[in-house]
Symmetry: C2
Subunit: 725 residues, 2 copies
């Protein structure tokens, strides 16, 4: 027997109090009572209002203490200012959870933030767990607990976590028309107490929930979210849409949820690492979740390399567009065996196109059960990893002849039987989906997803492919102890710039080099000269580079503080003067102190095969990450980076190299040799370890890193120390 989850009494309560119950139908304190009644909540309902009396035939209690028992959950339908005290009372009385719909907390400014701090104290001191504030409520169809507005919903399988009541309503409205239905909806709101990850944890073990849909703008604890997600996604699909990804969007998000919205790239990379499925369109969220909940993931059924998706159409255009879209998504079409092709030809006639995409037009539209036979043939081909039916199916009786209706329904049954027998995933696009003719209803009732948009159907199919893919990496989290590892490896050994880091400061290249050396990061050899007079002697044979050392110059090149191609001591003197003059002007213009620690002199390196950037940073929302990309001064133009959570292993860094658009430069291209990937992997791990070891390093960047056939060396390095707000 498994222990009940800590959130069980709150999300599946036996008794509920509505504090601030009202007889005014326009007030929340009335609507929630009405909704609870309408949904047939089987537990006890306690309306609370100092006025007493009756509302909707319920006897109203004048205060919490009048209740015959402590209710499991309290719905606090009161304005923000009153909430902290009421929550404290709830806790003192033994109530386990409180739902706070009120706005006027953190999202509304400084005063609200203070009020929210009071609410949190009240919760923590009395042990009450709080949903919200700024939540649109809670719905548990299996517990018949309805505490949001709108129509009651039957029990279903999709759980919804959404930071927007409207998006939630959107999803619930749409889900209510599909057989899958909704299991639980929670609006985490400001996440003052209960965070996304805790709801996710609960839903992971919530039996009726078959897939989890999330809409989030900001998240209070991004690291916890991804760690939890990487556990839950092992056995349940999690689909996520992230709002507030643009500058403009970010502004909107801030004014609405009071959460800081993190960089979208980081979010996407970490979501993928945690095996979540990210969608970027609201109109795909429900469909993708429904498909993932009802269809098996797309996985190879044999060792051959010819497997893939089979597209079955009844006309050219949809077949062409399906092939286009699948190709763009990187999903291969299956090459069907000659046996399969021969069987198809026998069934569809000699003129039919039996190469994938298969066109059944002319055969199926006169005798729909042909499709049933075709599906059986396809499903038994081991190269058929998944099936997309696209076109008119479901509407043959509408389009061609009413007499086809019965046979079309039979075909639907045969389709279901064929894919069930072989456990082949299937998605159906029909241009008659909106009309829901009987054959499509049959498919839907048997949990075969049907969509009116070809693009939505294809997105669902590709999400099944992603779900079926071998986990590319689980960021070093070992089985069984998913939570422990990552946090444990966070270091606490501060670097010795405490004073500076309290306000935030760049480190000079020299300081950064000292930081990196113990981790084995290879840097271009250099001589440090404290005095100007020592520079000339440090310039040896061949061309050299001279750099000013100052923590005020993180962008040395821009400041003219890097001089290249210095040969001999005469030139060294000239360049030294130029560097100092240029940097002085640069610093003076910016009101920074003319404060140099000295000079670094290094031999020029030969032209590398590739220049990289390798950096690590602490994302304020999502924790420590490693970034690897094409480097040099044009790094922003390339916009070609891979991102992973830290800590990281060498093989994961190698995979990051493969992810880059410019990866051919690293792995050989047009007769060019491959660079020393192993060394890149070692440096990636070392940079990550360095960041994790020193908890006050916020950013650490090697740029450029020169990669050669047999070695890799960092040419420059910088770091920023501070404390995360």
């Amino acid at each position: 027997m498994t222990l009940p989850h800590a959130l069980t009494p709150i999300l599946e309560p036996q008794s509920v109090a509505v504090i601030g119950a009202s007889s005014d139908p326009e007030k929340r304190g009335h609507q929630v009572l009405a909704a609870l009644r309408a949904s047939g909540f089987p537990g006890t309902i306690y309306p609370v209002n100092p006025k007493g009396g009756e509302i909707l035939d319920f006897t109203v209690f004048r205060s919490l203490t009048e209740l015959p028992e402590a209710p499991d959950l309290a719905y606090v339908a009161l304005p923000a200012a009153l909430v902290p005290n009421v929550v404290r009372e709830c806790g003192q009385y033994g109530t386990k959870g409180a739902i706070v719909p009120a706005v006027g907390f953190r999202e509304s400014g400084k005063e609200g933030a203070e009020l929210e701090a009071c609410l949190l104290s009240a919760a923590q001191e009395t042990g009450v767990r709080v949903i919200g504030p700024n939540t649109s409520g809670l719905l548990n169809t299996h517990a018949r607990l309805h505490m949001v507005g709108g129509e009651p919903l039957p029990p279903g399988g999709l759980a919804i976590l959404a930071q927007s009541g409207n998006i939630a309503l959107d999803l619930m409205t749409a889900a209510s028309t599909r057989p899958i239905g909704v299991s639980i909806y929670v609006g985490p709101g400001n996440e003052t107490d209960i965070g996304f990850h805790e709801y996710l944890d609960f839903l992971g073990s919530h039996e009726p929930t078959r897939a989890i849909v999330m809409y989030l703008e900001g998240v209070a604890d991004g690291e916890a979210l991804f760690e939890m997600a990487s556990r839950v996604t092992r056995y349940k699909p999690v689909v996520v849409l992230k709002g507030g990804i643009s500058g403009a969007g970010e502004r909107t998000a801030r004014s609405h949820t009071g959460a800081v919205t993190g960089s979208h790239k980081v979010f996407s990379a970490l979501a993928r690492e945690a095996q979540m499925i990210e969608v970027v369109r609201a109109d795909e969220l429900l469909a993708v979740a429904e498909t993932l909940a009802t269809q098996p993931p797309v996985r190879p059924r044999s060792d051959d390399t010819d497997g893939g998706v089979v597209v079955l159409s009844d006309g050219g255009g949809h077949a062409t567009l399906s092939a286009d879209h699948l190709s763009k998504a990187g999903v291969p079409l299956a090459h069907l065996s000659s046996t399969t092709q021969e069987a198809l030809r026998q069934r569809l006639g000699p003129a039919a196109n039996v190469n994938n995409p298969i066109d059944a037009a002319g055969a199926a539209d006169q005798a729909p059960t042909v499709l049933g036979d075709v599906l059986q043939i396809l499903a038994s081909d081991r190269g058929c990893h998944a099936i997309l039916i696209t076109g008119l199916f479901g509407g043959y009786a509408i389009r061609f002849a009413e007499e086809l209706a019965t046979e079309e329904c039979e075909a639907a049954d045969q389709i279901v039987e064929a894919v069930r027998k072989e456990a082949v995933p299937i998605v159906v696009h029909s241009l008659y989906a909106a009309r829901l003719p009987p054959p499509l209803l049959r498919l839907l009732e048997r949990e075969i997803p049907v969509y009116g948009s070809l693009e939505t159907a294809i997105r669902c199919l590709t999400s099944l492919c992603v779900r079926g893919a071998t986990p590319e990496s689980l960021i070093g989290i070992s089985e069984g102890q998913p939570n422990a590892n990552r946090k444990a490896r966070y270091g606490s050994e501060d670097v010795n710039w405490r004073k500076r880091s309290s306000q935030g400061s760049w480190l000079s290249e020299l300081e950064t080099r000292e930081l990196l050396t113990p981790f084995g990061v290879p840097m271009v050899p250099s001589t440090f000269c404290h005095e100007r007079k020592d520079v000339a002697a440090a310039v040896g044979k061949g061309p050299h580079v001279l750099k000013l050392v100052s923590r005020h110059l993180p962008h040395k090149t821009e400041a003219g503080a890097v001089r290249l191609g210095i040969e001999g001591s005469g030139q060294a003197d000239v360049e030294l003067k130029l560097a100092v003059d240029s940097a002085s002007t640069y610093l003076a213009e910016r009101g920074l102190p003319l404060d140099f620690d000295g000079f670094l002199v290094s031999p020029m390196q030969p032209k590398p095969l590739a220049e990289l950037l390798i950096g690590a940073q602490r994302d304020p929302q999502f924790g420590p990450i490693l970034t690897l990309g094409m480097g040099g001064v044009e790094v922003e133009l390339f916009d070609d980076v891979a991102i992973r959570g830290l800590p990281i292993e060498e093989d994961q860094v190698v995979r990051m190299c493969h992810e880059l658009k410019f990866s051919p430069l690293l792995f050989g291209y047009r007769g060019r040799a491959s660079v020393d990937i192993n060394s890149i992997a070692k440096i990636g791990v070392a940079v990550g370890a360095c960041l994790l070891t020193h908890s006050n390093i916020l950013e650490l960047e090697l740029n450029p890193v020169f990669a050669y056939v047999d070695r890799v060396v960092a040419v420059d390095a910088t770091a920023y120390v501070g404390s995360i707000v």
Copy 2:
């Protein structure tokens, strides 16, 4: 009075013959008669079948010659093999057009292609214009002429040109549920005779047609299409979806329409030049066309730079996602004036967010007419260039209280009035769109587009922005004579490699240099040495480059035939031998002749600020184009090119430079200087002119072109001569 269009008797016939009329309801020759009857075609209908008799109460004629008149249009419901002769008979009898639905022509292989050639001869010799073959038919709702299957449709405003019957059916099925409706549908099929551009020409002057929707896979005459489109789009929106853009898709397209599918990038660039709106999702095609047909384009209403789209939501999530999507599409949000904000605050209450996106939640859901007032306030702000309403509107009565129904309908009327008065474009997203509640029906009936998908609504809005944008370029086509210019400037002066070009051949660098010189393309100075013994003497002071000259070595670097950094005659001899040996091996491995013309010796150029590729080519489908992008050996990795049709002007080349992702490298970046853009523009024009002058140059490429602050010089050049198949 305007003259009737040449296609008028065919697309708006007074009389129609159905040749191959049949009493079998499963045959086309029956279905078309039934469809014509059902649609109430007011002209004369002549069924023709040698058997005579009666079908559907029509008297059947035994042959064309028995008819009392030559019908305007003949629907030839006969197998492919019979079609050419029947079409010839039609022409001899005086019939003006023929529709050929039969397959078995070009798309089916060599024999079919021969049959199609016979069909074309029959048409051209007798003057019959042919729709198809391989067409799904013709529908003209205004002429009540229905010659495709399915339900009759009422007259409407969208014309559909589609190379797939299924996509057409998809569009017609969807359009039939919208007030805009369908005007004409034609399936151009194989375009043997009448091509896309001719239909487009007809539709351009077809009064009831308000927007044109095209689905195409291949197109017979891409140049004619784009030239016609650039005329028609001046006064009617044209929306296009291109199928067959992927390798896999291309294969499917080939087997279905027999047309060669061109490169998608070229198509997109030229479609944009012609001011067509390209969509990439089938589920957006109808919506975008409907919006463009019913809403004015988005244009600035004032000189201020703060204008943009206003988003009006009733909840956070949709507002955030709208801002995200608009930002991604590069569409600015309007900054509302303080007067407007104050007016909004008065109407929505002090707590409302009156910064764009505006959140009316809390006000509108209790009193929907608030939305009407808000719309009036917004529409009168000159910075409001367009409005997106997103969220629950239309469903307030469903979601909140039934009593709101009347007021919500009033609000709909007020919305219509407000945007009409100020001619502000508007698109509405409602999560209740699928249910079509009365307020949304009111909007739709007054031609305000409403969509259930937020992303579709936003795509519609961004297409209005594109439609309203100043034509970036009209490829030098002067007003009034759109057709003439481009063709006229195609040269016919062949370069003197006729013999080689009949089979296709590369030109050596030396040959290409000779070709380019008269057009003023600056190339790195070089000395040509016919004999090996002259090479050493040609190497002057400083480092030089040695290149083998051979038309068999278009990729010299790969063959080891380019030697860099040669200093002095001793090194020259060594490198010369290396080059010859390496190239000899390379040629021998490929079975190519060891055939060198000699050697080019040039001084090494300093490192440029940027390396470019500037090329021109004749696209087999879309005609001559100029390509400009980042150059060097990594050009495929950069995947950063701009494309335009030829001929071209200098300012257009400058705009191409701006289009590149790497444009900061050209226009100055992080303190780096800008390169000599004027010279790049001149070279672009020159390369284009060179291609147009010599009609047998298929490709011409300068790569790399070195760009400096004060000059631009081509380092290498190659060309391919041949004849377009």
